[in-house]
């Protein structure tokens, strides 16, 4: 399946080949948010939302065509 990943802020600089802010990630069916995090080598602190909803549960199974947003969450500002 294909996961449509969009990256915001410094995530564009930290994931290889992601400067445009968009990535299509190929994954086998039944893979979860935890698998995506592992595939992209994401630190726990990286915010991840699936179809606009924050993925609080890393075991959430992804579906073909899901839109995933990666971002950093910093307080203040």
């Amino acid at each position: 399946m294909k996961i449509d990943v969009r990256l915001f802020g410094i995530m564009r600089d930290r994931i290889p080949n992601a400067h445009s802010g968009n990535l299509i990630i190929e994954m086998k069916r039944g893979k979860s948010v935890a698998d995506l995090r592992a595939q992209l080598d994401l630190a726990d602190l990286v915010g991840l939302a699936v179809n606009e909803n924050v993925a609080e549960d890393n075991s959430l199974v992804l579906k073909d065509g899901d839109q995933v947003h990666l971002y950093t969450a910093i307080g203040g500002g």
Binding site: F8, I10, D13, G47, A73, I74, G76
Partner: protein, 637 residues
């Protein structure tokens, strides 16, 4: 000669156009260090209770710190302290840039300004020499024009200038004190205090940098910061600015939208830091915005300041006036339902030209828009303007009208509370304030500890007075440094989270006392941690400060601020949140249906006062508490 600081405080009387130089002892500097702690010392001793904030008896203190101007990131900050014309409580606001360091090089650690000049004046401080110069020709000029004239007449382009724009002259109650035309002491109306004194500007130039006690030790810390920066949590903030926070705020349901009626905004991507970097930063069209579109403060490696340039379309933006921060993007953007980045950048430009706090300005406009949308304001009230969410043109127009105090901008320049009192007709229902200060774009419904801090903060709702909820679990090792060893979820409230709010409040208060940037030093995601702040202070001054002493410094400042308010008759009764946060459920996103639970909030407030060792009924520190912090004199003035 001390290391790190000058040992000199300048006292200026504008009424008589005279000055004196005080040389406080080491014990004074060690106890107060700088910022509003030092400012409060002079304010409490030099202005009577019940002072008119816009009267000559109000005292305006500008204080750097014992480390300002040293060669390390994050130290070039200065604080203004006076009674606030917006809140009628203590006022407190900081800014960075190059002025604070240059001010130290000019020979002083702080200025205490009393009285009122009978005509516009500016101060010229040049290597320890002080001169009063007429400013009639500058009155009415926007910041960029005044800066150019002053540099020309003093024949030095390297002068740093702190000044007010026309908004400060016209006493807009949330007027800012500006430097570099784009750095603002925005909050609590310190620009109006300066305007009430007919003080247009302070120009500084100096060639004498304070000595450093342990140069090698400081260089090691500086080098560590430079090396750690690219992989640090602040690298995103440096490259994409504070607007880097927008995506996270949206996902958490905490992006203040439609005057705090929702925590999500459909047009959020248009006002995100990534979009800003790609489209409106200077040099973006040639792909060189990383070098041309980012600005910095003295000796700082982070370079988080935005420089926006727009040369085409209805909202051309001059890069001289910088670019919007996250707060500005949210208050003029999502708060008002606007996703037009060029229009928001234009509003930011007007705020910096006229000298306005972008948070209070945008939030006051959003309040008026909601009151109009709900039928409590009419065209007769607004001078014929129709106010609608999403109307970028009217928002930009109103911002300029507030800066000039013209038309409906005259009333809005009073701040939303006084405007609601004047306009009546139920418009107070739509206020989003604490202690009369408009609320920043971080929502207690998404970050519950802010519901405590917004209410208790002595100078009104403020998002930079504590660490936000998520960091307790995200940065456990750093939290242990400040005595927080029981990580909690970002959601919900309990007594441990109140302890987190209080201890991080003391930590942030210490940062403001040492006058350092809260993006560079801090207890969580910051480049340097709190232990490293102690190292910075000690290598610069030669002292032996511990982190416990730093935390007590922060607690001392909070208690001084609170003591000032107690003297003004302000206490627990004013420690409130906007009623709409308790009564009106948010719509949409992760915080859909959420309100602040008033009973639980009240219980947590009680716990906060207990932990602070403050009186439960008055919410103020006792004489015994003040004495334990070495400030037993505070309530006597």
């Amino acid at each position: 000669m001390p290391h790190g600081y000058n040992g000199k405080i300048l006292h200026v009387d504008l009424s008589s156009r005279t000055f004196e130089i005080e040389e406080p002892d080491l014990a004074f500097y060690r106890k107060y260090m700088g910022g509003s702690a030092m400012g409060l010392y002079y304010l409490l001793k030099n202005s009577p209770a019940g002072t008119d904030p816009l009267g000559p008896e109000n005292v305006l203190c500008l204080m750097a710190s014992v480390i300002t101007g040293a060669p390390i990131s994050g130290q070039s900050r200065i604080t203004a302290t006076a009674k606030s014309p917006l809140t009628d409580c203590i006022g407190d606001s900081q800014s960075g840039g190059f002025f604070p360091a240059e001010f130290k090089f000019a020979g002083f650690d702080g200025i205490v300004i009393k009285g009122k000049s009978d005509s516009p004046v500016y101060l010229w401080i040049n290597d320890g020499e002080v001169e009063f110069r007429d400013a009639d020709h500058l009155w009415g000029k926007i910041t960029g024009e005044s800066e150019e004239i002053i540099k020309e007449e003093l024949e030095d382009q390297k002068i740093q200038i702190m000044q007010i724009g026309p908004a400060g002259e016209k006493l807009v109650r949330y007027a800012a004190v500006m430097s570099m035309n784009n750095r603002a002491m925005g909050r609590t109306g310190m620009g109006a205090v300066m305007g009430s004194k007919n003080l247009k500007a302070i120009a500084v130039r100096g060639k004498n940098k304070p000595t450093i006690a342990d140069k090698k030790g400081l260089m090691e810390l500086t080098r560590w910061g430079t090396k750690a920066y690219p992989e640090s949590h602040v690298a995103g903030l440096g490259k994409y600015g504070t607007a880097n926070a927008t995506a996270g705020q949206q996902k958490a349901g905490g992006l203040s939208t439609f005057n705090h009626n929702s925590g999500v905004f459909e047009g959020w991507e248009a006002i995100d830091g990534t979009t800003m970097f790609d489209t409106v930063l200077r040099g973006a069209d040639e792909g060189v915005q990383n070098s041309k579109g980012r600005d910095t403060c003295y000796s700082c490696t982070v370079r988080c300041k935005r420089v926006v340039e727009i040369t085409e379309g209805p909202h051309k933006v001059d890069p001289l006036y910088g670019g919007p921060e996250y707060e500005t993007l949210a208050t003029f953007g999502s708060y008002c339902g606007i996703d037009d980045l060029a229009a928001i950048s234009k509003a930011n430009e007007y705020c910096n030209k006229y000298g306005l706090d972008t948070i209070s300005c945008g939030a006051t406009i959003a309040w008026a828009v909601e009151a109009y949308a709900e039928g409590h304001l009419r065209k007769e009230d607004t001078g014929g303007l129709e106010l609608n969410y999403g109307d970028a043109e009217v928002m930009v127009k109103l911002t300029r009208m507030i800066g000039e105090r013209k038309g409906f901008g005259e009333i809005l320049g009073e701040g939303s509370v006084r405007a609601a009192e004047k306009l009546g007709n139920g418009t107070e229902k739509f206020l989003v304030i604490s202690k009369k200060q408009e609320t920043p774009a971080h929502m207690p419904q998404a970050k519950p500890t802010l519901g405590i801090i917004y209410a208790v903060n002595p100078f009104g709702s403020d998002h930079q007075s504590s660490e936000h909820d998520g960091s307790y679990k995200w940065y456990p090792e750093r939290m242990k440094q400040i005595g927080l060893d029981d990580p909690q979820s970002s959601r919900g409230m309990n007594e441990e989270k109140v302890r987190y709010a209080l201890r991080t409040q003391w930590a942030y208060s210490a940062l403001d006392t040492v006058s350092v940037c809260q993006f560079v030093f801090g207890p969580a995601w910051h480049l340097y941690d709190m232990e490293q702040l102690a190292v910075a202070i000690n290598t610069i001054t030669g002292w032996d400060v511990t982190l416990d002493e730093i935390m007590e410094l922060g607690e001392r400042r909070v208690n001084l601020l609170r003591a000032y308010n107690a003297r003004e008759g302000i206490g627990r009764e004013q420690d409130t949140l906007p009623e709409k946060m308790f009564k009106k459920a948010l719509k949409g996103g992760r915080t859909d249906g959420v309100t602040v639970d008033k009973d639980e909030w009240q219980e947590m407030m009680n716990h906060y006062y207990l932990l602070s060792e403050w009186d439960l009924s008055t919410g103020n520190p006792s004489q015994q508490k003040l004495e334990s912090l070495g400030i037993g004199w505070a309530l006597d003035g």
